[in-house]
């Protein structure tokens, strides 16, 4: 009896902690990067581009892409505004200062990529993570696409 109770309690805790819906077990292959090549040594400005299927960025209810450079994307259910502090007015420039780019296009041009301070290597690896936002700027799915590219540290902003 006691063992059953423990098992039920554990199952409840596990379910509560993990949630039981909206999880993605199969890769979302709608997005494919076109540049730069994975882990390629490149130079500023870096053009990060991709192709996208089955995702509308125009018309009513159109979504957008959010690109996070060297940082974690927002959690599912969170709005892109959560990247900024509450007392900061929302603007694309403010987001870019946080290394976050929001676009309806399928590319962003990175003119500035900050150096990774804790990494002493001359050739530094940077990571871009693309996620999808709804028309309200909220992340609705777990889908995320990651592309790494290398920059000569001298070519990055300090």
């Amino acid at each position: 009896m006691r063992r059953t109770a423990v098992a039920v309690a554990l199952a409840a805790i596990a379910c509560g902690l993990t949630g039981c819906s909206g999880l993605q077990f199969v890769e979302d292959q709608r997005l494919s990067f076109t540049s730069p090549a994975d882990s390629k040594l490149t130079q500023l400005p870096v053009t990060l581009s991709w192709t996208m299927k089955d995702f509308a960025t125009t018309g009513s209810g159109a979504g957008s892409f959010a690109v996070f450079i060297d940082r974690a994307p927002i959690k599912v259910g969170h709005n892109i505004r959560s990247v900024l502090a509450k007392n900061v007015a929302f603007s694309e420039q403010q987001l870019e200062q946080q290394n976050v780019y929001v676009t309806k296009d399928t590319k962003v041009v990175l003119t500035l990529v900050p150096r990774i301070r804790y990494d002493k290597a001359v050739r530094q690896r940077h990571t871009a993570t693309v996620i999808l936002l709804d028309d309200d700027g909220t992340r609705r799915t777990e889908s995320a696409w990651i592309r790494s590219f290398d920059l000569d540290a001298k070519g990055s902003a300090s």
């Binding site: 999880l23 077990f25 890769e27 974690a72 290597a121 996620i131």
Partner: protein
């Protein structure tokens, strides 16, 4: 007149205090370390001879194989996990660190569980299924908190790998194939490191699963593979060594009575293990080796990415090739080390020490290599050297401890490695920030070379520790034969006791025996080791070697409080009362071990107060305000309350007036007359020898005299050096 010691160990006396060499040789043969130049018999024929198969090795190896799935897969997909959960890779890394901490501490409770419940094979299976299901559930986490929870649970469940697999294998196979089976086990488990990233690549690349799907798939596979171990049986501890060792040294008439040793508790076992010199040295070696091992495996991937700009797939290939080399090396090493082990186990330890040193040399050369392929080969050789350390050291550590303590020593090794690893990661992270990843790889030389040297130095201790284990089993067998022959063991036997305060050894091979109801005097100079010997008997101090037996039961490593319950009470000289408690409170304190029997304590306190009317008068006074004599009276009351089988009194008469000493001695006589054996440590020869028939004399940590008290008076060579010569002369004159 025969002494108690002679009555107890007749064979030892007839062989001039030495155990017959042939018994030792038989014992070493049973342990599989008899020496000789013959090569180890082929594995297959040895297994056939013992009617064994490789199934337990492979099955446990497969558990080790799936054990690494969770951690290795997470290393590969941590960016994707971070992106899905909306947390940085650093946060995922921190969760991994917590998993590692859980892994580090988990072997200890697992060893405790195995000690309490036995059924090690079942524990291995259950924990494997548990971690498989945990791997599977990783695919369902939606937050960092959930990930941490899952990873800690995984770390805790995998404790069985370190604590139980090696002991189970050591007990399943005879020493003649032990290193080879351990090598095969490690090789199978190592393949997991190659398979895990390949599986992720397969599940992601071919089946297009996300990291969630990867964990789901790996969890299911892990569960299925774990079920392979369903047929593994626990043969019980010591089937192929400790039991054979007992048979090998048993008396030829075959008469024996099982020794009823008080079982050691979990922490008593850990403490006992840490007193074995080889284990002590190896644990220090593991600590330093851990500083090299885990950081190397962690930083290697970063090194390949940063220095050689390899993608995930490229890094997986290089590391996989390195592990592949290690697997091949393990099969070759197993056969070589088996021969070493049979000829001289110390050689195995030396080779492992050398391998550790070679390992860091390869890593440093690989780290500085300007060419890619030589770097791959050198790093692979580094991994090979790391790989072979496990089977060699497992075989040695598992062979020099009591078979029931094998899970504990394995758990300790894991703990020391883990602590070292944490220190190493901190050290190397700092180095990486300052000098880059190549600098941190080269800096592995700093812990690596000392680790190798420390492990190497343990080789000098192995043989002595095997001899010690053989001696203790021979002693048990002698005792069993003695009991079977109708003999009754003495109240107390301390045999071959060595004791050190840190590096300072103060007892040297001390033998000491007290018969039931006997009162003996333990005499000697200041600093001779008398009080230390009492500490060893009462459990306040633990010997580095030797045994202490109470009525034949081995109590050498029991906690002091357990010895009180068994009937040993010590009254320390001049420090036997609690100064801040009143007389009555002190007496109640002494009665604490009597438990809830308040009435018995009250009766005992009444008896004390009537034995010493002076204490009755001062019963509300604080202990610190009592005179020296009153304090000793109060101390002696401990014996009246606890009514021990054996009472150890340290320096009863020191600094007291003769009239007080007389009163105290009367009580000691009374206690002894009621059946309590008494050990009286005294500086005053006159006092001691007026009470006892049997005396021991210690000098510089050695027992210099053991015999009738009056014979000691004739030993001017001993007494003159210590006590007032006049006193002994006066005593002799008086007797004439």
């Amino acid at each position: 007149m025969t002494t108690a010691l002679e009555r107890f160990s007749p064979e030892e006396i007839t062989s001039g205090g030495r155990v017959a060499d042939d018994r030792r040789q038989r014992a070493r043969h049973a342990l599989g370390v008899a020496g000789g130049q013959d090569s180890a018999a082929p594995l297959r024929s040895e297994l056939r001879r013992h009617r064994l198969t490789m199934y337990p090795t492979v099955a446990l190896g497969l558990l080790g194989f799936v054990d690494v799935f969770q951690g290795d897969a997470l290393t590969v997909v941590s960016p994707e996990v971070g992106a899905a959960l909306g947390v940085g890779v650093g946060a995922v890394g921190a969760a991994r660190a917590l998993q590692f901490l859980a892994q580090a501490v988990a072997p200890l409770p697992m060893a405790a569980l195995a000690q309490a419940r036995g059924k090690r094979a079942l524990l291995c299976l259950v924990t494997a299924i548990a971690w498989s299901l945990i791997t599977l559930s990783t695919g369902f986490v939606t937050s960092l908190v959930a990930l941490i929870f899952i990873l800690i649970a995984d770390g805790l469940s995998t404790g069985s790998v370190l604590a139980l697999h090696a002991p189970l294998l050591a007990d399943t196979y005879p020493p003649s194939v032990r290193v080879r089976t351990q090598s095969v086990y490690v090789a199978v488990a190592t393949v997991g490191h190659i398979a895990a990233p390949l599986l992720v690549a397969l599940l992601s690349g071919v089946f297009h699963l996300t990291w969630r799907g990867d964990f789901l798939g790996m969890g299911l596979l892990s569960t299925a593979v774990s079920l392979v171990a369903i047929g593994v049986q626990d043969p019980g501890p010591g089937r192929f060594d400790t039991e054979l060792l007992h048979q090998a040294v048993a008396h030829e008439d075959g008469q024996r009575e099982e020794a009823h040793n008080a079982g050691l508790g979990f922490f008593e076992i850990l403490r006992r293990l840490m007193l074995i010199p080889t284990i002590q040295r190896l644990m220090v070696g593991f600590l330093v080796f851990g500083m090299l091992l885990i950081p190397f495996l962690t930083f290697l991937s970063s090194f390949l990415a940063d220095r050689w700009h390899l993608t995930v797939a490229g890094r997986g290939l290089v590391i996989g090739a390195g592990y592949g080399l290690a697997v091949v090396g393990l099969f070759i090493y197993g056969a070589v080390a088996e021969n070493d082990f049979a000829k001289d186990p110390a050689r195995v330890v030396r080779r492992v020490g050398n391998a550790v040193i070679l390992c860091v040399v390869f890593i440093a050369l690989g780290g500085t290599s300007p060419f890619f392929y030589p770097m791959v080969v050198l790093m692979g050789l580094g991994l090979l050297c790391v790989g072979i350390t496990g089977p060699g050291l497992n075989s040695v550590t598992q062979s020099i401890v009591d078979s029931r303590q094998r899970p504990h020593v394995a758990a300790l090794a894991g703990l020391f490695l883990a602590v070292g690893a944490l220190l190493g990661v901190l050290l190397l992270s700092g180095v990486a920030q300052e000098y880059g990843i190549t600098g941190s790889i080269i800096s592995l030389l700093i812990p690596g070379i000392p680790a190798g040297l420390i492990i190497r130095s343990a080789s000098k201790l192995v043989d002595r520790d095997i001899e010690r284990m053989v001696d203790s089993i021979i002693e048990e067998e002698d005792l069993a034969a003695f009991k079977a022959g109708g003999g009754r063991p003495p109240m107390l036997t301390a045999k071959g006791v060595n004791f050190s305060y840190g590096q300072l050894q103060v007892l040297f091979d001390v033998d000491f025996t007290v018969d039931e109801g006997e009162m003996v005097a333990l005499l000697g100079t200041n600093g001779a080791g008398k009080s230390t010997l009492l500490k060893v008997i009462s459990g306040i101090g633990l010997p580095s070697s030797g045994t202490v037996r109470l009525l034949g039961d081995d109590i050498t490593y029991l906690d002091a409080e357990r010895r009180v319950k068994l009937g040993i009470t010590q009254i320390p000289g001049g420090r036997s009362v609690f100064g801040r408690l009143t007389v009555i409170e002190n007496l109640r304190g002494f009665g604490y071990t009597l438990g809830a029997d308040r009435r018995r304590v009250d009766d005992a306190i009444d008896a004390c107060l009537s034995a010493f009317p002076r204490l009755e008068e001062r019963k509300t006074s604080l202990g610190a305000t009592l005179s020296g004599g009153e304090q000793q009276m109060l101390g002696l009351c401990k014996a009246l309350i606890l009514q021990p089988k054996l009472l150890l009194i340290d320096e009863l008469s020191l600094g007291l007036a003769p009239v007080i000493v007389g009163q105290l001695l009367d009580l000691v006589r009374r206690i002894n007359a009621e059946g309590t054996a008494v050990v009286l440590v005294e500086q005053s020869v006159n006092i001691a020898l007026s009470l006892v028939n049997h005396a021991y004399f210690m000098e510089k940590g050695q027992m210099r005299f053991d015999g009738p008290a009056h014979d000691l008076l004739g030993r001017d060579d001993l007494l003159r050096a210590v006590f007032l010569e006049g006193a002994t002369k006066g005593q002799k004159a008086g007797k004439r």
